[in-house]
Amino acid sequence: MRPILEARDLTKTYRTGEGEVEALRGVSLAVEPGEFVAFMGPSGSGKTTLLQLLGGLDHPTSGEVVLDGVSVSFLDDDRATRLRREKTGFVFQAFNLVPLLSARENVALPFLLSGADPASREIRSRVDDALRLVDLEAKAERRPAELAFGEQQRVAIARAVAGRPAILFADEPTGNLDYSTGLEILQYLYRSCTERGQTIVLVTHDAQAGAFADRVLFLRDGRVLEEIAIGRRAEHPARPLIERLALLGQ
């Protein structure tokens, strides 16, 4: 099968006042359709940077990203934006929602931005579908400020999957949550993967989160240090992964 996402020899160098920071030093990877991949690694290892390059939010210093057959790294801004709108969904650690829009409107946002009529039956049903996936139909009309943090993250997941994107990127979506709420969020992500065949790339430094993935890429100093295959299972025990990571000095 052709990979849905492919990165070839990505590097990223940030220029700062004091000099240059090499955040990525040559990363190559491939993600198959329907796969759930997690990036782990210590703080500063380049996880967020990698995710942003893969999602077309930033340009690499060198190397190339191919998303669903399209090379995203050197698209102009408008094309990159359209590609994001049509082929990707994002969930960040916090502030995922536009405060002035209701939960439903936040989920419908990609459609609104593409100029589609959010009131049309087709789009309404897609939005309802997505809300149902995260069990939030009842609270669809609330503003983000009126939702619990975990619920806000669920709305973010609904938005990320509503457009049936080729790939969903999540950057520490459970970072601000308590243990059980975090677990709940992971369950919803996992459910989108199993029920809808959603491809997911998750950034986390929590082994419990990583344990939901089919495969974990461990980054350090801007390189992929290790690839840990987990495979799909009904249970997601964290212990085996923790033991593997411990071997890496983590």
Binding site: T81, F92, A94, V98, P99, L100, G115
Partner: protein
């Protein structure tokens, strides 16, 4: 205390653009206040200097009443009065002049109106210093010579040796120019249209008896004093009516005109400064809100509440100092530009750009005070930030709805404090404090009340604006959405974001909205008031002179001239009028003699008391008068009352046969209407004006047709509206000037709008990053910001227009008995909408660019 000060200043440096905007807001206000006070001071001193130049060394002037003269007996009484050091009698009359070709004897070229001044050269020199530009001074016996004033002479190509012909009651005379006076001293009067001749020559030109004069200039022994001499003259002069005036009276009447301009300027300047204050208050409040976390952090590491207050106040102080320095420099430039303009509005020429020290001090103190008072609210707000906010994940970036009220109260408090300084400053510099628009400030109490009313009205306006802002913004959003209907699908996302952002946090924009509304309201109100005044003038003229053209004479001409005018093709009727001065109950007033039947046929006059038929019949029968409302009020007259009028040549008691809404404008207000036969009993005859109606369809070419005959008799043909006086021209210029200044308030408001949008974009960087990640294009981000500005601009314009129309209606309704009439000054409304909407959208381009250029990766990390 030093650490917070350094922090406060660093905040200003960290946000250079916002700092510059706020400084610009203060600077424009300070500049206008400084300029208004400076121009006022310049106009006042100009008026005084002008009066002093005209009056020379005379302390008192005794003038003959109306068209009468002072008899030789009066002249010798005056010079014989104890305390009078010297006198100089003058004949001073207006006439027309023609140039006489060299060698010829026939007048060839009309020179227009000219004031002939007959003097005794020797005694005149004791009163005035004359500087000759060329030629020789007038000699006492040279009855065929004349001395002209330079600007007029050179404008008409006249010089020493030229000959001019002048017309008077005694026939025509040819005079040879002996000398030309430089434009100074008395040669400034009447715009320099002056010809000095000997007394003898002037008397024979105007057919006056030997030894008489129109006026006498008097120099008083300082040991005796002007007041004492005045009293002595009043008891001794009894031969004929006269008017006494002192040099100070003249200067005072001259400075009234410039004082009105000064008041208007100051009023507008104050509003601009208040709008500025509001924006300072808002900018500081937003800056505090934005830094809640930072302030909390400072508090948690041990900064006291006082230190936090100091930090905000130092920030304000920095803004004030910047604003004051820039404002004073700008004010000096504005003063230099305005001084010639004001000179053209008032009678007295204003020259130089005296940068008044008092004005400078008042403007600086005002700028400082208004800024610091406006900062008190935000400082207090910052002091209340609790250290625990530092630990909260989401600091309260958006402001509560109470914040609008607080901004409004802060701005209003600053306005009240500012008004107090203006009044104090006015007292110190002697400049006039703001009077309420359109009226002349009367007395210190009235002025204070007017100023207090302005501040109070401002407070109310801001509070109301804060309250209605959400609703008006929603309405404007709906209007713009409807206007974008054809494009609705492609614009839907932008519209949703713009409207959502406005309704989500109306506090953020409602101050900018209110400031815009107040500024534009001022523009529209001023235009409405000017329109209303012009309309009232037009209505008045068409009431008293319902004709197609008016032919006016500079001095009275025989009634028979009217017959010649009636012979002009296209003329349907000619009615002759004679406007003259009378004394009613010892006070000067105006009267007009009419042919009652002819005047009634024109349909002139509106009766408020008494019926038209009976009143004109009584006028025809004789012994009756029609009294304009203003005169009736002044002398407390009712229909049937006896009215005793006096002229230089007679006295009569007339019965009031009717009260009319308006009378013809005369030298001393509106004229009492009497019949020609009663006028001749008062020694008044002839015509000073002819009302001409055209035959149907002939109105177009009437003026041209009349001017041939009119020229022959040295009459001039004018539009009926012109008899309203040159007032309208000055009115237009005054209001034009005020409108320009009101636009400055709009500029300040638009700058505030830019400030708000910049802050808005900065605050929402994270949200923008998120939207961009979710697929918002750069163009969409750009359009969302511009649309947001368009909504605020439209809302501000509409609110401003409503405010302005209501305001001008109230002001106009206050001044008339006719009741309220809602008139919309459409051009000004259109201008307001264009400036408000266009200005807001224009300044939004930069913040919109910032929004479009948000670096997604960085924006997402910042959260």
């Amino acid at each position: 205390m030093r650490a917070p000060a350094r922090l406060g200043l660093r905040i200003l440096r960290r946000r250079p653009l916002r700092t510059a905007l706020t400084i610009a807001g203060i600077a424009i206000g300070v500049a206008l206040v400084f300029a208004a006070l400076s121009v006022d001071a310049a106009a006042q001193s100009g008026a005084q200097g002008y009066a002093a130049q005209l009056d020379g060394r005379s302390d008192l002037v005794v003038r003959a009443f109306g068209e009468g003269t002072l008899s030789p007996q009066s002249l010798s009484t005056i010079s014989g009065t104890a305390g009078v050091l010297a006198t100089s009698p003058q004949v001073r009359r207006s006439t027309f002049a023609w140039a006489v070709a060299p060698g010829g004897s026939v007048a060839t070229r009309s020179l227009g109106a000219l004031t002939v001044v007959g003097v005794d050269p020797a005694s005149d020199r004791a009163f005035h210093d004359e500087t000759l530009a060329s030629g020789a001074p007038l000699s006492a016996t040279d009855d065929a010579g004349a001395v002209l004033a330079q600007p007029w002479a050179s404008a008409h190509g006249l010089g020493v040796g030229s000959r001019i012909s002048v017309m008077g009651g005694g026939g025509e005379r040819t005079l040879t120019v002996r000398g030309v006076l430089a434009a100074s001293g008395p040669a400034l009067a009447d715009g320099g249209r002056l010809a000095y001749v000997t007394l003898t020559s002037a008397r024979s030109l105007f057919a006056l008896s030997a030894g008489t004069a129109d006026l006498v200039e008097v120099r008083v022994d300082p040991a005796v004093g002007v007041a004492a001499v005045e009293t002595r003259l009043e008891t001794r002069l009894s031969a004929e009516p006269y008017l006494l005036s002192t040099t100070t009276d003249d200067a005072a009447s001259l400075s009234v005109a410039s004082r009105d301009v000064g008041s208007g300027l100051l009023l507008v300047a104050a509003v601009v400064l208040f709008v500025g204050a509001l924006l300072v208050s808002d900018a500081l409040a937003m800056s505090v809100a934005e830094r809640t976390r930072e302030v909390a952090l400072l508090r948690s590491v041990g900064a006291t509440r006082r230190q936090v207050h100091a930090m905000v106040l130092v920030e304000a102080l920095g803004l004030a100092v910047g604003g004051i320095v820039a404002g004073l420099a700008g004010g000096a430039a504005i003063t230099a530009a305005l001084v010639p303009l004001v000179g053209s509005i008032t009678d007295a020429p204003v020259s130089g750009t005296p940068l008044d020290a008092g004005a400078l001090a008042v403007a600086a103190v005002l700028g400082l005070l208004v800024t610091v008072v406006a900062a008190l609210g935000p400082a207090w707000q910052a002091g209340r930030v609790s250290p625990v906010e530092a630990l909260r994940a989401t600091p309260a970036l958006t402001r509560s709805s109470g914040a609008v009220g607080r901004s409004a109260i802060g701005g209003a408090a600053a306005s009240v404090a500012g008004t107090a300084v203006l009044i104090l400053g006015g007292a110190v510099t002697g400049a006039s404090p703001p009077a309420s628009a359109g009226t002349i400030g009367s007395g210190p109490v009235g002025t204070f009340l007017a100023a207090a009313a302005v501040a109070l009205a401002f407070l109310l306006l801001m509070l109301v604006a804060g309250l209605v802002a959400p609703a008006v913004l929603r309405g404007a959003g709906a209007v713009i959405a409807a206007a974008a209907m054809p494009l609705r699908r492609p614009l839907a996302a932008e519209l949703r974001l713009a409207r959502g952002s406005l309704s989500h946090d109306p506090a953020r924009v409602s101050v900018a909205f209110a400031a815009l509304a107040v500024g534009l309201g001022l523009v529209v109100a001023l235009a409405g008031i000017a329109d209303g005044m012009r309309r009232a003038g037009d209505a008045w003229i068409s009431d008293v002179a319902p004709v197609d053209a008016v032919v006016v004479a500079i001095s009275p001409v025989p009634d028979s001239f009217g017959a010649d005018l009636a012979g002009v093709p296209g003329v349907a009727s000619v009615t002759s009028l004679r406007v003259f001065d009378v004394a009613i109950a010892g006070r000067q007033a105006s009267a007009v003699a009419v042919d009652p039947a002819a005047y009634a046929r024109l349909g002139a006059l509106t009766f408020e008391a008494g019926t038209r038929e009976s009143a004109f019949a009584a006028l025809q029968a004789g012994g009756a008068a029609l009294v304009p409302r203003s005169v009736a009020d002044r002398f407390d007259l009712r229909v049937g009352d006896a009215l005793s009028v006096r002229t230089a040549t007679g006295e009569e008691t007339l019965r009031v046969a009717g009260i009319v809404a308006h009378g013809l404008p005369g030298a001393s207000g509106e004229s009492v209407v009497v019949s020609q036969s009663d006028a001749s009993g008062l020694g008044i005859s002839g015509a000073s004006m002819f009302l001409v109606s055209a035959k149907p369809g002939a109105a177009g070419g009437l003026a041209a047709a009349l001017s041939d005959v009119a020229d022959r008799y040295a009459l001039s043909v004018v539009q009926p509206s012109a008899i309203g006086g040159a007032v309208t021209g000055a009115l237009d210029r005054t209001f034009g000037l005020l409108d320009v200044l009101a636009l400055a308030a709009v500029v300040v408001a638009v700058l505030g709008m830019l400030d708000v949008l910049l802050m808005d974009v900065r605050q929402r960087v994270g949200e923008l990053g998120l939207l961009r990640a979710a697929g918002l294009t750069r163009a969409q981000a750009w359009r969302a910001v511009v649309l947001e500005a368009a909504i605020v601009g439209l809302a501000g314009s509409v609110a401003g227009c409503v405010l302005g129309v209501l305001g001008s209606t109230a002001v106009l309704g206050f001044g008339t008995t006719a009741g309220l009439r809602l008139d919309v000054p459409w051009p000004a409304v259109a201008l307001a909408v264009i400036v408000g909407l266009g200005g807001a959208m224009l300044v939004s381009v930069y913040p919109a660019r910032l929004a479009a250029r948000v670096d997604i990766a960085r924006a997402l990390r910042a959260e």
